[in-house]
C-alpha cells in the first residue's frame, strides 16, 4: 500500500519519512513519543506490496519470533513456522516485504544478534532453514522500519544504529490519523502528543471524542483524563481562540 497524502501539506516529520521512503531508503528508525502512529506508518507507508510483518520486541521473546521455529502441526508432527523477519525477507515471493520492529532495543542478546543478521545489508544477509537446508536471502524490496520511544539515539547499540542510517523523530500524529477525531480536537491532540511529562496520547482523545457525544463534556473529560480534566478542558477552551469566527 502506498499512502497518497499530499506531501506538501504534511508536518515536517512525516514529510521526511515520505522523502526517505521514496528515495529508496530501506532501513529507518522512527523514534519519539508513543501514540503518534510510528508503527502504523511502518506497516502502511511506502511500498509494502510484499506485505508488512510486525515484530514486538521484549526481553522474554526468543529467536523463534524472528526467524521461526518447529511447531506441532495437525498431523501430530512438527513443521517449520517462519518468523516475522523471515516472512518479510520472502515477501510475496516476488518482492521482499517490510519488517516493522517495535522497541528493538528491548530485545535480549540472542534475539538482537539474530535481528542484526536479518537487518544486515542484502549482500551479506543470509539464513539457512534448518528444515529444508535452503539458504534464504532478502528479496529485493525488503525494508525494515524500527520504532522506539527512546529519545537519545546514542543509547542504541552501535551495531544496530550502524544498520539504520536514517533516524526520524515523529513528534506529531499523522494527519490521516487525526481524521478520526473531531476537528476541534486536532490542534490540542497534536500539541499534547509531544508534551513531555504532560503528554496526552491520541488514543485518549479518540476516547474523549466518543464519550462526549453521549456524556456531558466535563464528565467525559474526567473519565478519560482524570485529575487533569480541568487543565485540559481549560486549555481546549483557550486554544479555540483563534479558531472561532465571529
Amino acid at each position: 500500500m502506498t499512502t497518497t497524502t499530499d506531501n506538501t501539506k504534511l508536518p515536517s516529520c512525516w514529510k521526511k519519512l515520505n522523502n526517505a521512503l521514496s528515495a529508496g531508503i530501506d532501513r529507518i528508525i522512527l523514534f519519539g513519543p508513543s501514540g503518534t502512529g510510528k508503527t502504523y506508518a511502518g506497516l502502511n507507508h511506502g511500498n509494502t506490496q510484499g506485505g508488512a510483518h510486525r515484530l514486538i520486541c521484549t526481553e522474554d521473546m526468543t529467536t523463534a519470533d524472528v526467524c521461526g521455529a518447529f511447531m506441532p502441526d495437525n498431523k501430530g508432527t512438527f513443521s517449520w513456522v517462519a518468523g516475522s523477519a523471515l516472512k518479510a525477507w520472502d515477501g510475496d515471493g516476488i518482492t521482499g516485504g517490510r519488517l516493522v520492529a517495535d522497541e528493538i532495543d528491548k530485545a535480549g542478546g540472542d534475539v538482537l544478534a539474530t535481528l542484526l543478521a536479518f537487518t544486515d545489508t542484502p549482500e551479506s544477509a543470509s539464513w539457512e532453514n534448518p528444515e529444508t537446508g535452503r539458504i534464504h536471502r532478502p528479496r529485493e524490496g525488503f525494508s525494515v522500519i524500527m520504532t522506539t520511544n527512546i529519545e537519545n539515539m546514542a543509547e542504541l547499540p552501535t551495531a544496530l544504529s550502524d544498520r539504520f542510517p536514517v533516524r526520524i523523530r515523529i513528534d506529531q500524529p499523522h494527519p490521516s490519523a487525526l481524521t478520526r477525531l473531531s476537528s476541534d480536537l486536532h490542534g490540542i491532540a497534536v500539541s499534547l502528543a509531544d508534551a513531555g511529562r504532560e503528554r496526552v496520547s491520541l488514543r485518549a482523545f479518540y476516547a474523549f471524542d466518543k464519550l462526549r457525544s453521549s456524556l456531558p463534556v466535563g464528565e467525559a473529560a474526567e473519565l478519560v483524563f482524570g485529575d487533569r480534566a480541568s487543565s485540559i478542558l481549560e486549555a481546549m477552551r483557550i486554544d479555540s481562540l483563534a479558531r472561532v469566527t465571529v
Binding site: 490542534g187 487543565s231 481549560e234 486549555a235 483557550i238 469566527t245 465571529v246
Partner: protein
C-alpha cells in the same frame, strides 16, 4: 466527597502559528494570584500561575494561558518600529488578553487584587498621568478597573473621567476587531504577528494620550471658593467643624467639577484606522563624485578675542583667553535628504538644482524603484538611496530621471541623523509629506513617525524643490527663512494630535 486537585495550566496544549512546534513540557510554577507574580514567557516556555480552584486563581491562570496563546514571543520588532513604548504595548496587550479571555466566557470581573483603589489615589498624588493611562488600559474590562478609577476620582474627577473615556475608547477599538484576527499569531513579516498589530495600533494612540495630562479641574460657575474638598464620597467627617482646621488644596469639590471639556479635548486625539505597514529597508549607494563644487552652507559664530560687541561676556571668567567677542566663519555643510518619489514630480534637472544649491553638503536622494525584495540577510536587494554629493564633491549624472515609490522616508532620515558630524549640523528634508512604507502603502502612522522624528532631531522639512533651492540658498547666505510644513503634516497634526506641535 471529592477533593479538588490543583489545576496545572497546560500551555503545551496551545498551538501558535508564529513559532515552530516544540517538544516537551513548559516549566510551570505555582504562584499566588497577586499582581506581579503570575508571568508568562513564551520564548523560554516558562509560566508562573496560580493553580487554585477559586474564581480569582482561575481568571489569573486563564489570563496567563491567553498570553501563551496570543502574545508575541519578542517585543523588540515592535519597539524598533518606535510606534509605541514598552509600557504602552504591555498595557494594551493586557487589555487584549483580558478581552479575549472574557470572549471565552470567563468572568474577568474577578480579576483584581485589592490594590487598585489605592494605586488610583497614588497616581494622582504623584501626578503620574502616564502611569494612570497605562494602568487604566491594562485593567480595562476587569474588576480592578472600576476600583482603580474610583481611587483616581476620589483625588481628581477630571482624570477619572478622561481615563474612563480612554479605556472605553480603547475597548471599543478592540471589540471592533473580529476575534479570529485579534487572537491570530499569523506572521505578517518582520517578526510581527497579526493579532498584536492591533495592540500596537492602540498602544500608539495610548502613547499620544499619555503625553499630556488633562488640565487641573476648574470650579464650575458660581461655586463658593471656600468649599474645597477632594473626595466625592465616603468622607463622612467632611463637615463644617472640620473644614476650618483642614488645609485647603485649592481643588474644587469633585461633584462640582465639570469634566465635559476635558473629555472632549482628549477625544481630539484620534486612533489610527488600521495597523501601519513597516518601512522598507534602506540600501544606500554612493555614486562617483567627480565634480568639485565650491561653497559652503550656512555660517557659524566662534568666540574671538577681537570684535566690536562683547556677546560672550561670561567668558571673562570662564575663558583663560578672554574670548568675549564673536567672529563669523563659513559653515562646512549640512545634510540634505531629497524625496524623489513620484508624488514629488522631480525631474533630473530639478534634482541637480537642489544639489547645486547645497554646496558643501551631503545630499542623498531616495526612491524605491519597484523592487521591494528583502534578501536573506534582511537587507533590501535593490538600491533605493543614492548619495549625490559629499564633502564638496558632486556626481555628474543623476541616477534616474523620475523616481517611483517612497518606502524609505524614515530610514533615510535616520541615515541622515546617524551621518551628521555634529548634533547641530542642519538637516533639510525635501519632501511633500506623502510618506509611504513597504509596498508603497501610505498610513497616517508613518506620517506621524516621520513628523515626530523631524521635530526630535530639528530636521527642516521643505515641501518642494523650488522652495528647497530658495531655502538652501538663503541658508548659504546665512539668512533665516521660514518654511511652511507640508500640508500632509498639518493634516495629520490636526487629526491625531489635536493640532499640537
Amino acid at each position: 466527597m471529592t477533593t479538588m486537585s490543583p489545576v496545572r495550566p497546560l500551555p503545551e496544549a496551545l498551538g501558535r502559528k508564529d513559532t515552530p512546534k516544540e517538544s516537551g513540557e513548559w516549566s510551570v510554577n505555582e504562584c499566588a494570584p497577586i499582581r506581579g507574580l503570575p508571568v508568562t514567557n513564551v520564548s523560554s516556555r516558562k509560566m508562573s500561575a496560580p493553580m487554585g480552584n477559586d474564581a480569582l486563581s482561575e481568571v489569573v491562570r486563564v489570563h496567563e494561558l491567553v498570553h501563551a496563546k496570543v502574545s508575541p514571543t519578542d517585543l523588540s520588532p515592535y519597539l524598533e518600529r518606535g510606534l509605541a513604548g514598552d509600557d504602552s504595548l504591555r498595557s494594551v496587550e493586557e487589555m487584549r488578553v483580558n478581552y479575549l479571555a472574557s470572549r471565552l466566557g470567563y468572568d474577568m470581573k474577578h480579576l483584581m487584587d485589592g490594590s487598585e483603589d489605592s494605586y488610583g489615589e497614588r497616581v494622582v498624588d504623584t501626578n503620574d498621568w502616564r502611569g494612570a493611562v497605562m494602568f487604566a488600559l491594562a485593567t480595562a474590562g476587569t474588576g480592578g478597573h472600576k476600583k482603580f478609577l474610583n481611587g483616581v476620582r476620589r483625588k481628581n474627577k477630571v482624570w477619572g473621567a478622561v481615563l474612563a473615556d480612554i479605556s472605553k475608547r480603547a475597548m471599543k477599538e478592540i471589540t471592533k476587531v473580529p476575534q479570529k484576527r485579534l487572537a491570530s499569531t499569523e506572521p505578517i513579516g518582520d517578526g510581527m504577528i497579526e493579532g498584536f498589530s492591533h495592540t500596537e495600533r492602540i498602544a500608539e494612540w495610548a502613547e499620544r494620550m499619555a503625553t499630556t495630562a488633562p488640565p487641573e479641574p476648574e470650579p464650575a460657575k458660581g461655586e463658593d471658593e471656600g468649599k474645597g474638598g477632594d473626595t466625592d464620597k465616603g468622607d463622612t467627617t467632611d463637615d463644617g467643624d472640620t473644614e476650618a482646621s483642614k488645609p485647603k488644596r485649592g481643588r474644587p469639590k469633585s461633584s462640582e467639577v465639570d469634566t465635559t471639556d476635558a473629555v472632549s479635548a482628549s477625544r481630539k486625539t484620534k486612533l489610527l484606522p488600521s495597523s501601519p505597514p513597516s518601512w522598507m529597508k534602506l540600501k544606500v549607494e554612493r555614486l562617483p563624485l567627480p565634480i568639485v563644487l565650491n561653497g559652503a552652507l550656512g555660517k557659524k559664530r566662534l568666540a574671538s578675542q577681537t570684535g566690536k560687541v562683547p556677546r560672550r561676556i561670561h567668558r571673562l571668567i570662564s575663558d583663560p583667553n578672554k574670548r568675549v567677542f564673536d567672529r563669523t566663519v563659513k559653515g562646512t555643510g549640512g545634510i540634505v535628504i531629497v524625496d524623489a518619489s513620484g508624488s514629488m514630480s522631480m525631474s533630473r534637472d530639478e534634482l541637480r538644482e537642489v544639489v547645486l544649491s547645497a554646496p558643501g553638503c551631503t545630499v542623498m536622494t531616495y526612491s524605491v524603484m519597484g523592487d521591494w525584495r528583502i534578501g536573506e540577510d534582511g537587507e533590501a536587494v535593490a538600491t533605493n538611496a543614492w548619495v549625490l554629493a559629499d564633502k564638496g564633491r558632486i556626481c555628474d549624472e543623476m541616477p534616474f530621471s523620475r523616481g517611483q515609490a517612497n518606502g524609505v522616508d524614515l530610514p533615510a532620515l535616520e541615515w541622515a541623523v546617524s551621518n551628521r558630524p555634529r548634533s547641530n549640523t542642519p538637516i533639510v528634508w525635501v519632501c511633500d509629506g506623502h510618506v509611504t512604507g513597504m509596498g508603497d502603502n501610505g498610513h497616517d502612522s508613518l506620517t506621524l513617525q516621520a513628523m515626530n522624528f523631524c521635530s526630535r532631531h530639528n530636521i527642516v522639512v521643505v515641501p518642494d524643490t523650488a522652495t528647497a533651492c530658495k531655502y538652501l540658498t538663503a541658508l548659504g547666505q546665512g539668512k533665516r527663512m521660514s518654511v511652511r510644513e507640508p500640508w500632509a503634516f498639518t493634516d495629520a497634526r490636526r487629526q491625531y494630535l489635536g493640532g499640537k506641535k
